[in-house]
C-alpha cells in the first residue's frame, strides 16, 4: 500500500507542466549561485567561516540567548519565550488583544508558518495578511509555501494572472508582471498604512548588541517593522550569533547561496523601538523566541549541526528530488533536504520519518550548504534512528522498524560474514539465474531486471590464478 507521501509524489510527478516549471526555476537559481562564487577556494573559505560562526554560536547558545535577552530588554524590546508553537501563538494573541488589534500585516517569516500562526489567529477572529509578494499570492489561493524563500515558485505567471483576476475583478486581466506587482503594491500599501500590528521573522539576532537582522528584497520586512505601531518578531532560538562582526560574513554568503544575488536590496538591523524624539518606527517591539524541538535537536552532538542552518534554500535548489516532486509533496513547512532532516526531528520520526528515505544520498545538498551541514550524514543517522531499538533523544526513535526488514538485514549480515556461505549463495545465484523472475516490482517498472553473471568474480579470479592469500 502506498504511503500518503508516495501518493503525493505520484501526483506531483504526473504534472508535467509544474515539473518543467520547477526545473527551469531551479536551473536559474543554480546558475545564479554558481556565478556568485567564481573562485572555489574563496567559496570554501567563506563556507568555513560561516560554519565556524554558526557552530560557535550554538556552542554558547544558552549564554548568548541570555546576553541577547539582556541587551534587547535594555534596548526596550520585549522578549518572550515559547517552548511550543501553541505557546508562541498565545503570546502573539495576547499582544494582539492588549492592543485590541483585529488584524496584522506580516512580512515573510518561516517560523510563523511553523507556528501555523495565520490559521491560529483566524480561529480567534484575527486576520493575518501576508505582504511578501509570493506569500500574498499563495495566501490568496489558500496555499502554503512550496519553497522557503520563494513561496510561490510553483505558480506560473498565467496562474497568478488568473488568480488576481478572480480575487480582484475590478482590475483588468493581465499577465504583465509589472502590472501584477503594482496591483499588489497598491493593495498592500493601504494595508500597511492602517495595520495596527506588523509581524516579521528574523534572519540573525546579534547577542552582543541586541540587534535583529532581516534580509529581504521587497521592503515587506521594512514596512512590517517600521510602519505599524507594534512590531512582533518571531524566530527560533537557534538564530542567535555572538558578535556583530559575525554578521557581514553571514550576510555575504546567505543571498549568494540563496538566489545568487551579491546582496539583497534591504538589510534591516533593528535594535530598539522608537526612541524619545524619533519621529517614526513602532512604539513597541516584541521578540518571540521559539523552541519547538530545537533544544532536543541541540542535545545530540551530531544532529546539532541541523541548527546551523541559515535558511538560504541552496540545498533545496540543488536537490534532484525536490526539483521533481516540488515543495508541497513533502507535506511539511520546510521542504527539500533541510526539511528532510529538520521536520522528522521537530515533529517525530513517526510523523515525517518517511522523508529520510526520499533521498538518493547524492550529496548535492551538502556540497552547496553555506554552513556545511552534513545533510546526507544526518539523513543516514535519522534512518538509523528510525530502526534501532536503543534509547535515543530523537523523537519516535525506532518507530520505523519493520520486523521483516530487520530479519532480512540480520540474515544478510550473517551471510556476508560467512564467506563460504556467501560464495555458495552467489554461486547458487549464478546457477539459478535463468530462473530468477524478471520482475522485481518497483525496479522493473522502468528498468530490466539486473542480470546475474554466469560466474562470479570470486570464481573467475580463482580460475585466473589471481593471488588470494
Amino acid at each position: 500500500m502506498k504511503t500518503e507521501f508516495r501518493i503525493q509524489v505520484d501526483q506531483a510527478l504526473g504534472k508535467q507542466d509544474v515539473r518543467a516549471h520547477f526545473r527551469k526555476a531551479m536551473d536559474t537559481l543554480m546558475t545564479n549561485r554558481r556565478n556568485q562564487f567564481p573562485d572555489n577556494a574563496e567559496l570554501q573559505r567563506l563556507r568555513d567561516q560561516a560554519q565556524v560562526i554558526r557552530a560557535n554560536a550554538l556552542s554558547k547558545l544558552p549564554e548568548l540567548l541570555e546576553q541577547l535577552e539582556a541587551n534587547l530588554t535594555q534596548n526596550g524590546i520585549h522578549v518572550h519565550w515559547a517552548e511550543t508553537t501553541d505557546e508562541a501563538n498565545d503570546i502573539v494573541l495576547k499582544i494582539m488583544q492588549k492592543h485590541n488589534a483585529t488584524w496584522m500585516i506580516k512580512g515573510k517569516s518561516m517560523v510563523s508558518e511553523e507556528m501555523g500562526l495565520n490559521h491560529f489567529l483566524e480561529s480567534k477572529g484575527i486576520e493575518a495578511l501576508e505582504s511578501d509578494l509570493g506569500e500574498f499570492i499563495i495566501q490568496l489561493d489558500g496555499e502554503t509555501p512550496s519553497h522557503i524563500i520563494m513561496p510561490a515558485i510553483h505558480k506560473s505567471k498565467e496562474q497568478i494572472a488568473k488568480l488576481f483576476n478572480e480575487k480582484f475583478p475590478d482590475i483588468p486581466y493581465t499577465e504583465d508582471v509589472d502590472t501584477l506587482t503594482r496591483t499588489a503594491r497598491d493593495i498592500l500599501r493601504e494595508k500597511f498604512y492602517n495595520a495596527p500590528v506588523g509581524l516579521s521573522g528574523v534572519n540573525f539576532a546579534v547577542a552582543e548588541t541586541g540587534t535583529l537582522c532581516l534580509v529581504e528584497n521587497e521592503g515587506n520586512g521594512r514596512m512590517s517593522t517600521t510602519i505599524p505601531p507594534v512590531h512582533i518578531a518571531v524566530t527560533g532560538i537557534e538564530k542567535v550569533v555572538e558578535k556583530f562582526s559575525d554578521i557581514p560574513p553571514l550576510l555575504s554568503i546567505l543571498p549568494r547561496s540563496a538566489t545568487g544575488q551579491p546582496i539583497t536590496t534591504y538589510f534591516n538591523m533593528i535594535s530598539s523601538p522608537r526612541k524619545q524624539g524619533e519621529k517614526d518606527g513602532p512604539e513597541e517591539v516584541h521578540l518571540v523566541l521559539l523552541d519547538n524541538g530545537r533544544s532536543r535537536i541541540y542535545s545530540d552532538p551530531e544532529l546539532l549541526a541541523t541548527l546551523r542552518c541559515i535558511r538560504c534554500g541552496a540545498c533545496i535548489n540543488h536537490c534532484p528530488v525536490y526539483v521533481r516532486i516540488g515543495g508541497h509533496s513533502y507535506g511539511t513547512v520546510y521542504p527539500g533536504p533541510i526539511g528532510t532532516i529538520l521536520e522528522p526531528q521537530k515533529s517525530g520520526l513517526s510523523v515525517h520519518g518517511e522523508l529520510v528515505q526520499a533521498s538518493s544520498l547524492c550529496g548535492a545538498c551538502g556540497e552547496v550548504c553555506p554552513v556545511r551541514i552534513p545533510i546526507p550524514n544526518i539523513i543516514n543517522r535519522l534512518r538509523y534512528e528510525g530502526v534501532h531499538q536503543e534509547e535515543s533523544s530523537v523523537l519516535d526513535a525506532g518507530s520505523k522498524r519493520k520486523p521483516m526488514e530487520a530479519i532480512t538485514w540480520k540474515a544478510w549480515s550473517w551471510a556476508a560474514t560467512h564467506p563460504s556461505m556467501y560464495n555458495l549463495g552467489s554461486n547458487l545465484a549464478t546457477q539459478v539465474r535463468k530462473l530468477v523472475p524478471n520482475h522485481l516490482g518497483a525496479w522493473t517498472s522502468v528498468r530490466t531486471a539486473p542480470a546475474i553473471a554466469d560466474k562470479t568474480l570470486h570464481q573467475q579470479l580463482k580460475a585466473l590464478g589471481v593471488d588470494h592469500e
Binding site: 528515505q357 538518493s360 530502526v387 556476508a416 560474514t417 588470494h468
Partner: protein, 270 residues
C-alpha cells in the same frame, strides 16, 4: 599525498561486481597487472556493508565491515573499482567504528582506500595508448565518486588520454541518476523519474555508449535503457564500467572482440 608506486595492492571487488559485473572486476585487475602491479584478491571478501549502513542497520553493517577490515593486514593500498564502496570504506568506516575496539584498524584501512581511476591517475600515473576505433561516449560519474571521494576528474583524465574517444557532455551532468541503493526500491517513483531524465540527457548527446566508475549507476542506467528499448522503442546506449572500457581500448584486438561489449546486457534474458 599519494604514495609512490607500490608493487603490490589489495583489490576489493565489491558485491555488485562479484555477482553482476565480474568482467569489470577482472578488467580492473588486468589493468593493474599490466602496470606491473601484483594484485591480491582476498577470497573471503563479501560486501563493504553500505547497503545496511544506508538503511540504518548499523550493527549489521558493522559486523560485515568488521569482516572486511580483517582482510587487509599488510600496509598496502586497497583498490576498489567503485566510488560508492570506496566512499563507504574511506569516509564511513571511521564513523561506523567510532569508539569501537577496532577503530584504529578501521581508520588504517580507510586511509589506504583508493577508487580505481584515482589510483590509476594519482598513484600509477598511467599512460594509455588508444588502439580502438573512433567512438563517441558519455561519462556518468557517480555521486559518491564525485562528492564523497572527490575523484570526478580522474575518469575524465583517463579518457582524455584516448585519442579516438570523444567524450560528449550531457545536460545535468553532475546530477544523480536516481539509483541511491535502497532509494530505488523505497521511493521507486522518484527514482524512476530521475533515471528517465538521466537516460534522456545521455541519449540526447548522440553518444553510443556510457561509461562510469560505478556499477550501481550502470545497473540503473543500463537497465533503464534496456527497458526503454524494449517497451518504448527508444535507442539504447550500451553501458560499461570504465575498467572494461579502458582495457578494451588499450588491448590488441583479440578473437573475442565484440563479445561483452555491452556489459551485463549479454546476459539479459528475453
Amino acid at each position: 599525498m599519494p604514495p609512490s608506486k607500490p608493487d603490490t595492492v589489495y583489490f576489493f571487488g565489491t558485491c555488485l561486481i562479484d555477482l553482476m559485473f565480474p568482467k569489470a572486476g577482472v578488467s580492473a585487475i588486468q589493468l593493474l597487472q599490466r602496470a606491473g602491479i601484483k594484485v591480491i584478491y582476498p577470497q573471503a571478501q563479501t560486501c563493504c556493508g553500505q547497503p545496511a549502513w544506508n538503511s540504518g542497520y548499523r550493527a549489521e553493517a558493522r559486523k560485515v565491515a568488521r569482516a572486511q577490515i580483517a582482510l587487509f593486514p599488510k600496509p598496502l593500498p586497497i583498490v576498489i573499482p567503485s566510488g560508492s564502496c570506496a566512499g563507504m570504506m574511506k569516509t564511513h568506516y571511521p564513523e561506523l567504528f567510532k569508539g569501537e575496539a577496532d577503530e584504529a584498524q578501521a581508520l588504517d584501512v580507510a586511509g589506504r582506500v583508493y577508487e580505481l581511476t584515482e589510483f590509476l591517475v594519482d598513484v600509477l600515473n598511467v599512460n594509455l595508448k588508444d588502439l580502438g576505433e573512433p567512438v563517441e561516449i558519455a561519462v556518468h560519474t557517480s555521486c559518491s565518486a564525485r562528492r564523497e571521494m572527490g575523484v570526478a576528474d580522474k575518469i575524465e583524465q583517463l579518457l582524455g588520454q584516448l585519442q579516438n574517444v570523444k567524450v560528449l557532455e550531457q545536460a545535468y551532468k553532475p546530477e544523480c541518476c536516481g539509483f541511491g541503493g535502497t532509494f530505488a526500491i523505497k521511493q521507486p517513483e522518484i527514482s524512476a523519474a530521475m533515471v528517465a531524465d538521466k537516460t534522456m540527457h545521455l541519449r540526447n548527446t548522440g553518444a553510443t555508449q556510457v561509461v562510469s566508475q560505478d556499477c550501481g549507476c550502470l545497473m540503473n542506467i543500463g537497465g533503464a535503457f534496456e527497458y526503454q528499448a524494449k517497451h518504448q522503442n527508444k535507442k539504447a546506449l550500451s553501458t560499461q564500467h570504465i575498467a572494461e572500457f579502458l582495457l578494451q581500448r588499450t588491448s590488441s584486438p583479440s578473437p573475442s572482440t565484440g563479445e561483452g561489449h555491452r556489459m551485463g546486457v549479454a546476459e539479459v534474458k528475453s
